[in-house]
Symmetry: C2
């Protein structure tokens, strides 16, 4: 007698969930992959969409297409609203509940405004394509309004861009905004010049990139400064409105603020009635299972997993991918084993030809690091066409400083009416 | 004594307005180009964005970038709300009024629902990038919902796509939707198969492409039929809702309707207090000036210009371009002359390897026509990068049937809640 075919339900088609599904390709299971969006998003390049370097379709691919040839997967576009652990069922916003034998929760993280939820509307973060096009619209509209503004104070405020958070995302955003506003568009406007615009990067801690070694953080600081970014360290945000940001007792008039300061896990802990760390991440066993529920595994940004150094693993793509593969393996083999993270290196890029990479023993910075970063990111992009396209596009924009995706789409009229 | 430098104001940066601005590059004038959007849009390919073949940035370029090196142009992002003919000033929604010596009105056309303005929300048309991504969202979401729908009647309705209007846009949309829903995605879904989906093309007149010769229209009809499109001729739309379309006394349950049936000119006639034809187009003199106002010219879809055959010129890009160039020439030389349209050919494409072209004496159809159409469209695309990119992308999607831009973005949650 063969045992009955198991039904594996995976919630979330980010790096973790997708890796889990793909790793189960040859396993004797039926898989249902549920996501609230129809596309897998290559989040590390989202800041390029926000700063008009790439188009949304360059960094996103339909989940169905990616898994087209994997016959044991069914993809469902729906929003999960809860998990019934006793009945082993996932509840959906639109469709019928779905039963599972094994469940992998890979729902990622969302922004955390540290209790100031009203900041969200003034300082969008970067998690989805709609977030990125919203930031792009905000930045490009500020330039447009500055071009026709005659009051020098208002113009100065329109040309002040504030990025909050000095981690990799904040550093990348600040560098890219500086290049966009100070260099790429400089010949396109008649009234504003590159020297008018100001990009501030605000970090509450004592230095940038606190997950990197100190020398690389210092190099990153020098590199963003050279691009024209003003870095404010050890400064806390006190207030954000659509006209100003209050930082360390100083009011900075500005219209474009981007949030890259904090994330919290999705509400998975509540669905699972599970213990969570202060960032909302579910506390898991060393084999990624939920305590008391060997049939449930939690991976990626949704899980709080303590690494060999005693610290929680960072919320980056490689952790999610490896955990997805690990969860799949323990399902396929039926033998849960402890997860161990293999850190292949930590990267952050600054502007169009600088990056810092921490390989542990070896540290790299400058142009060589940037080239390595480019190669790695193009390589890991999903789908051959995107790789080719993004390669061509980057080469082109590197050679010309052109920002090809400088489109203002969406509710322009509303933003337009919002006079300074 | 030199005469004072004239100030030319151009409203609209479509094919007409942009051509006028570019043709005045060497003229001794100052130009202000006003548009409500920051990008020039290559409208003939908008249906490709709506059917996920191209990304918005492939067919749109920032107006500022296009005119970057033309020192005598200033670009303003603003919405025109009126024209004060006596004071020779243009009134803006946000900015100060702008005076002019010469005015070129090139504001294009918008959809006309023949008095049924409530149809607009159920049957979006194709004029802007936001229109196109809205149609894309609608079509892709219908497929997603059909995949998880168990009621066969509702599934059938979700997989029924209706295109209203048998002109070039309608034919192109119907062909592209048929390829998307019946071929490109056929391997991506588990429950729905290509045979489930149905594309209807509804035309009130007796045949498709009524601006083309009869033999070409017949070829177009055969070509769309081969792609699986059902063509309903001589059928009028009686009602449109979010659940059905009433056509010629029959109720067709469906969730995705695209409007390609009628346009009307922008409100320019009202601004100018000018006489207009029933489609709202301003009646102009043979030199494109407004009767009684030699300082005002109206061009493109905004103007009703009677051609040599006694009929109004069609609302296509070549007419707008040539009129823009003509208007510029009469300003530059100071000598108004009658405008004559040089028709270089009329094109429509059907699916991924068919087209019909009417050169007057010569008529072309099939694959050769399609290749010519591709070449012409890539050639006329604004900006070198876009040409290269779109070329690569088309070649790729031609070889693989891949639809790379299959992203559902925007207010998914809302559409998601709209249960059948």
């Amino acid at each position: 007698m063969t045992r009955p075919r198991q039904h594996v339900v995976i919630i979330g088609a980010g790096f973790g969930g997708l890796a889990a599904a793909q790793s189960l390709a040859r396993a004797d299971v039926d898989i249902t992959l549920i996501d609230g969006r129809n596309h897998h998003l290559f989040q590390p390049l989202l800041y390029q969409v926000a700063t008009a370097g790439l188009s949304p379709a360059d960094i996103a691919a339909p989940i169905r297409s990616i898994l087209r040839n994997q016959a044991n997967v069914r993809v469902i576009l729906d929003t999960v609203v809860g998990v019934d652990r006793a009945a082993r069922r996932v509840r959906l916003a639109d469709g019928q509940p779905i039963g599972y034998d094994r469940l992998i929760v890979a729902t990622g993280a969302q922004h955390s405004y540290f209790g100031n939820s009203d900041w969200a509307s003034h300082a969008p973060g970067l998690k989805t394509i709609d977030d990125a096009t919203a930031v792009r619209r905000k930045v490009l509209l500020a330039l447009e309004r500055a071009e026709s503004e005659t009051d020098p104070d208002i113009r100065h405020a329109l040309l002040t861009f504030v990025v909050i958070g000095g981690g990799p995302t904040g550093v990348e955003m600040a560098g890219a905004i500086a290049e966009l506003t100070r260099r790429s568009v400089s010949q396109d406007f008649r009234s504003i010049t590159p020297h008018c615009s100001r990009v501030l990067l605000v970090e509450a801690g004592p230095r940038l990139l606190n997950s990197f070694p100190e020398p690389l953080a210092a190099k990153a600081l020098a590199a963003v400064a050279e691009l024209g970014v003003t870095v404010l360290l050890g400064k806390k945000i006190e207030a954000i409105s659509d006209r100003f940001v209050d930082v360390g007792g100083i009011r900075i008039p500005c219209h474009s603020v981007v949030w890259a300061a904090g994330v919290q896990a999705s509400p998975a802990a509540a669905w699972l009635e599970a213990a969570a760390d202060p960032a909302g991440r579910v506390l898991v066993n060393d084999d990624l299972t939920l305590p008391g529920h060997p049939e449930i595994q939690v991976i990626g940004d949704t899980a709080a997993f303590i690494g060999t150094d005693g610290k929680s693993l960072p919320g980056v793509a490689p952790v999610a991918k490896q955990q997805g593969q690990h969860a799949a393996r323990s399902i396929a083999t039926g033998r849960p084993t402890p997860f161990r993270y293999r850190n292949h290196g930590n990267l952050a890029t600054i502007g169009r030809h600088r990056a810092v990479i921490d390989f542990g023993r070896v540290q790299l910075s400058g142009v060589l690091a940037w080239l390595l970063w480019c190669t790695a990111h193009i390589y890991f992009l999903v789908g051959f066409r995107n790789r080719l396209d993004v390669g061509v596009r980057w080469l082109w924009s590197y050679l010309t400083f052109e920002r090809s995706a400088r489109l203002i789409t969406g509710p322009t009229t509303k933003l337009h009416g919002e006079q300074p």
